[in-house]
Every structure is written in structure tokens, then in C-alpha cells.
């Protein structure tokens, strides 16, 4: 009994301390590291002004060109469809102002493709907002803190984007292959595609607005089972992202509607 008491007296403080640290780390994890991200932002904010922005200009110009080209093709097909069936209702249409933000941090681990930007809930960013850069779609806002937000890039393996080939309307799912490139899996056994076809988000996509340019087909593997596979060259320079634009987007599912009405009421 006495030894136990002595041991307890000896170790009680240490145990309490360990418990405190473990609890602290757990809370941090549960709050998605909000405190850490805010701290990171406050450390990094003086540095970003020093950092010179040098996106390789040719790449940006090329990306811009490809974005416009994809947009034109997309618009043409859409126009044809519109002429065919009158009463076509466009999705989306939330006309809030986009927010321009700067990338201040990359993923802390090489298994994820994420970036951290220096704008957060203070300017009205919410999880689920769509992020674009020069060249087209980049990703989706995952978590926000007052001054930062974490973006899951479309080149991440866990992000899935419903896309369509603008020329032939073949549908598929785009995801990352861990190394930062895009892989497109088709629904059909024999999709009508060829190398160089342009890819944009599908009208079936719930998370993204339809018709956003994404990339073009780089290589094809039609014999792949169970579904044909294509490598996609993403237009935005994902590796060298510097500035991004965050667009408000209400996810097109049932949960989104009550949120939206609440927002409207609070705005009034």
C-alpha cells in the first residue's frame, strides 16, 4: 500500500501532464488544427509580401489559352443543345463576388494534394466553395478558419470530379493518382474519345458547377478493365499555384437548400 502511495505521489504529476498534452493534441485534431493554421498564417503573412510571384509566364499563357478554347467548345455544344430543346434551365447562378486569395502553404504530407490560402471565414468563405486558377478548376474548399482555408485539389486521389468530354459528351470521373496528375475513368465500355479531347465538369456533378474547363486527354488506355482509363493533363499549373480565385457555390443536394435559405434570411 505504502509503495503504491509513494509511486502515485511520484508519478501523479507526470501522468496528469501527459494526459494534458494528449488531450491538447486530440482537441487540435478534432478542430482540424484550426489553431495551428491560424498560427501558420500569422507567421507566414509577413513572408508572402517578400516572396516574388514568378509563375512561369509561358505556362500561364498556354493555360489561359487552353481554358478559353475549352470554354468555346463547351459553349458551342451547349448552344446546340439549347437550340434543340427549348426550356433548358441552367444550373447554379449564385451571383456572389469571388474572393482572390494567395497560396501560403502546401500539403504537409506527400500523400495529399492540398494547399492553404490566406483568406478564410472572415471574408465569407465556406467549405464546399469552388476554387479556380488560371486555366480552370483547381479544387474545393475543405475546411476554413477565420484567416485561412484548406483546399483539396482535384489532383488529390480522394477528390472525385464528375467530368464530360466536351466534343462527344462522354462521361466519367476524374481523380488524382497521388503524384499530382489526373486520371479519368469512364462509365462506358467504349467511350468515343481521342487524345487531345478537352475535359470539363459535367452537368451531373453536384460539387462543382457544370462546364468548368479542367484539362485535356494526354494518353488513353481503352483495354483497361473494368473501365477504360485516360491520363488527363490538367490546365492549371497545380504544382506552382500562386494566386487562386474562390467562387461561392452551393452544393446541389438536399442539405444545401435549408442552408441557403438561412443565409438569405440572415442577409436580410
Amino acid at each position: 500500500m505504502f509503495t503504491i502511495k509513494r509511486w502515485w505521489e511520484h508519478k501523479a504529476l507526470q501522468l496528469a501532464f501527459l494526459g494534458l498534452i494528449l488531450g491538447g493534441a486530440w482537441t487540435l485534431k478534432e478542430t482540424n488544427g484550426e489553431l495551428l493554421m491560424e498560427l501558420y498564417q500569422s507567421f507566414v503573412s509577413p513572408l508572402t509580401t517578400l516572396q516574388s510571384s514568378n509563375p512561369t509566364e509561358n505556362r500561364v499563357r498556354d493555360a489561359k489559352l487552353m481554358e478559353l478554347q475549352t470554354r468555346i467548345v463547351e459553349l458551342q455544344t451547349q448552344n446546340q443543345r439549347l437550340q434543340k430543346l427549348l426550356g433548358y434551365v441552367e444550373k447554379g447562378g449564385t451571383s456572389n463576388r469571388p474572393v482572390v486569395a494567395r497560396v501560403v502553404g502546401r500539403s504537409a504530407d506527400h500523400w495529399w494534394q492540398q494547399v492553404t490560402v490566406n483568406r478564410g471565414a472572415k471574408v465569407g468563405i465556406k467549405p464546399g466553395f469552388v476554387v479556380k486558377a488560371e486555366g480552370g478548376l483547381v479544387g474545393l474548399v475543405r475546411t476554413v478558419t477565420p484567416h485561412t482555408s484548406r483546399i483539396l485539389l482535384i489532383s488529390d486521389a480522394t477528390s472525385q470530379v464528375g467530368v464530360t468530354i466536351s466534343r462527344t459528351a462522354a462521361k466519367g470521373i476524374l481523380r488524382g493518382d497521388y503524384s499530382g496528375e489526373g486520371v479519368l475513368e469512364f462509365y462506358e465500355k467504349v467511350p468515343n474519345i481521342k487524345i487531345g479531347d478537352l475535359v470539363s465538369t459535367s452537368t451531373y456533378s453536384r460539387k462543382f458547377p457544370p462546364g468548368e474547363p479542367v484539362g485535356k486527354i494526354k494518353s488513353l488506355d481503352l483495354k483497361k478493365l473494368p473501365a477504360p482509363l485516360a491520363k488527363v493533363e490538367l490546365f492549371p499549373p497545380i504544382r506552382y499555384l500562386d494566386w487562386v480565385t474562390i467562387y461561392p457555390h452551393v452544393p446541389d443536394n438536399l442539405e444545401g437548400i435549408p442552408n441557403n435559405s438561412n443565409d438569405n434570411q440572415s442577409n436580410k
Binding site: 488544427g33 504530407d109 486521389a157
Partner: protein, 212 residues
Amino acid sequence: MKISGFFSAKNLNSTKKYQQSKPLIPPLKYWYPWSRQGLNWVIIFISVLLCLLMSPTRFLGMELLGIAPNWALIWLVAWSVKRPAISGAFAGIIMGLLQDALISPHPSHTVSLAIVGILTSRLQKHRFIQEDFISIALIVFIMVLISNTVFVVQLFFTNNSCKPNCFQMIEDIWIYYQRSTLSSAILSSLWAPVVYYPLNHWWQKIIKLTRN
């Protein structure tokens, strides 16, 4: 007239005392043990924080094929090299939780880092290898390989988002694993002494003082 003030013993003493200038912060061995311990905790806290905040940044020379060094793992190795396995394990779990907070909690980093903590403290480095820098780089290299392998196994089993075809996903993971692990290991082991050297220096000093 006798000027009493200048040559009296009292004044001499006082000037002597004045000349022995005291440093603003007394040397560590004169500190109370509890305040020394407190400083130790503050340094541990700050070093962990720095390692965590370093991980999302990409400064020049800290990137190889888009992959940055694993700072959390380097800190963990520096911590558990000369400590018992239990403290290595707890440090691993805490570091894992913090990394989960920074990135994404599915799958968790706690398992791989706890294993790294235990293995590092089990190594009994002092028995086999004497030289410090090279051996630390080597240990970090091996530990990155191990933690990455554990993490990949976790990824295989917890992947729910591979709906259309899971085999393709596993193939992708495998290819990327081979490519990324080596560069991550090389980069981490090269940067390891930067974290290890000052921390180890400090902890050795503290141990020496507490023994006295």
C-alpha cells in the same frame, strides 16, 4: 584635511563588487531545478511547433520532386533516440495527432509515428554506432521507409473512395509509394541534423546539470 571617502576599505570593496559584472541571465547551473525544467518544456514546445509549421512551407532546397522533408518524423527521432520506448510511443502518438490536425485524419498518422517512436528508442544506438550525424541521418532514412510502409498499408485498408475500380487505386498507390518514399527519405535524412543537433545539445546539457 583628510578625505575619508576615497581610500577606505568599504569603498574599495564596493568598487570591486561593481567590476565583477553579472550577466543578465545567470548560467543554467544556478537556476532552480523547476525553472530549468520549465525552460526545457518551453523549448520542447517551441521546437515541436516549429517542426509543424515548417511542414506546409516549401523553401528553396526543401523540395525534391514536389516532396518536402518529414519534419515531424525528424523531431520524433531526435526525441526518442536516447529515451525509453514508452516515451517514444507517446511522443509518436502526440505527433501523429498534431499531423492529423494539419492534414487529414483519415487514415491517421498516429500508428506509423508511434511505431517509429518505439523502434527508434529500441535501437540502442549507443551500443552499435558512436558517430552522431551520420547515424542520425541513417536512422531517419530507415524510419521514413518504415513509416511510409505502415502508412501505405493503412491506405490500402481504409480506402473507401475507390468505387469504380479498386485495383487501379492500389496500383496507383504502389507506383507513387515507390517514387515518393525514396525522395522523402533522402530529403528527411539530409535535413535531420538541423533539428537533431541543437535539441540533442540542449538535452545533454540538461541531463548533465540534473545529475550534478
